[in-house]
Amino acid sequence: MLAMYRTMLLIRRTEEQLRDDFHAGRLPGGVHLYIGQEAIAAGVCAHLDDADPIASTHRGHGHYLAKGGDPEAMLAEVYARETGICKGMGGSMHVADFSRGIIGANGIVGAGLAISAGAAFAAQLDREGRVAVCFFGDGAANQGVFMEVLNVATLWKLPLLLVCEHNCYSEFSPSDTVTAGEITDRARAFNIPCSVVDGNDAVAVWQAAAAAVELARDGGGPSFIEAKTYRIYGHNESEVHWLSSEYRDETEIEPWRKQDPIERLGSFILENGVCARENLDALDIEIRARIAAAAEAAAAAPPPDPELMRDMMFSGQQP
């Protein structure tokens, strides 16, 4: 419980740092913030080991951190430094750490679905009980690969958990203007275990994922979870620079702010006496310090050697 809280807080503080860094002009590329959705990454990844592969999205910092990715290396990556987890070659949309099963954030909407299915197939063949997880958005659920992967995963009984993060927006389009029906019904058509959970309730996510991950590890095949949540920030942090009209009201956002997943888990922890308010506060201070230091280190780190690039396109072959 506390571990989940720590993860969520780590994500939040890291992203607040990146938000501020972006607006201060310290980052070369854009960032898509996960703030408000932390319970999903944390609740699902709590069940996973380094060996379990996860595929993520353009909004991937949270998944990376929840899966145990190094925050220092991630910040350095977004800062485009040689010390970055991808040596500055990928940036925010491509943070990946294969040693921890983070097989990558991805700039192509929906791309993680097929990649995770392939990873699940590898896991299945290895018979070591690994499970693959794909996080994807409600917008991504409109890409045909979603159905294709449901089909293959069901047929082959792949150890795969598909987690759709329904945050009510697909870029600037409200979900119901681009998504017909209920996304979960698309998965139900394949008769696999499906659940719809409150994505701002870490405990609920944790529970749904527990069942799905266990099933997959035991050879029971794929499951689907739709986590209902809300994107508190914009599609990406650069939108304020070019948006000429508003696409949503402050009044729409406000109620969701009250559903803050970190505060909710915090209350739950306190109510259940897991620890005291002071402990949570101390944790926050610790994390803030860590992230501030990480950002400073990232800022001070050297940019990548351009020649590196030529060794990275191929393994053992020049491009």
Binding site: C86, S245, P303
Partner: protein, 326 residues
Amino acid sequence: MAKKRLIQAINDTLFAEMERDPKVILFGEDVEISMFGDTKGLHERFGPNRIRNTPICEATLTGMAVGAAAGGYRVILHLMFSNFIYTGFDAIANQMAKLRLMTGGQIKLPITVIAGYGGGRSTAAQHSDTPYPLLMNLGGVNVAVPSTPADAAGLLKTAIRGDNPTFYLEAGGRGGERGEVPDDDFTVPFGSARVCRPGTDVTLVSVGAMMKPTLQAAGALAGQDIDAEVIDCRTLVPLDTETIIASVAKTGRIVIVDEARDRCSAASHIAAVVSDEAFTHLKAPVKRITVPNVAMPYAPNVEKTVIPNQEQIAAVTESLVNNPDK
């Protein structure tokens, strides 16, 4: 004449063409709010039938463009970033580029696909490709890559009014370039390159966002007594090989600047045409300045090393003119 930004010229042209012909429709992801500004305001003016946000489903959008065009509409499909051309590539390569021949010429396919291309803004490998070499090889689609606001307007009109599929590639965030745009209803024909700067010593051929560093390099070379002729291809399909060959016949030397990866680039193809059809005029090797065969790196300092720039163009050209034997 009015001075405007390239993206503004596109936006104005879309307004004008939709006003002009009620059969023009436009759809794509978030075209209503318009991330690049090119489709801004169209939704308010023309309503949801003619301007429509779509779900994220590029494979379907490209196929729908074919179906709607076959159904009598002039379709503009906005694919946002050029990398998403790959996501919708099936219907592009297997339908759009082939359907007319396969049906014995029964149909017209008035389709304009708009997408932003190219690097330079740390958008990393999946939002920065320069995909025109692939499109050029397909055979059945035109490719227009405007470099000035006036050409942006003139080529877009030709694309929309034309009866064949055209990929209209915008130089991404670099749509800010300003220039004069005539007020009258002019068009720029396809397959007609523009000699932007006459010269006698060497021909510099380029297109799109590479025109700027190429012209700057030509300016710098003038200071070194090298008189470069600069050609903007404007469309890569059809390609105006005549203008290029005529120039090489005069200068005897050519440097081709291209933002695409080198292997099978537009530059490769132009080099091939020149080394065949203008061979007897050539006094020096045919030079290409292209992006190396890598995915676009995120780090700005690394990205900078892969995109052709003024210094590189000037240096290669200078050495070509002064040391013809390489």
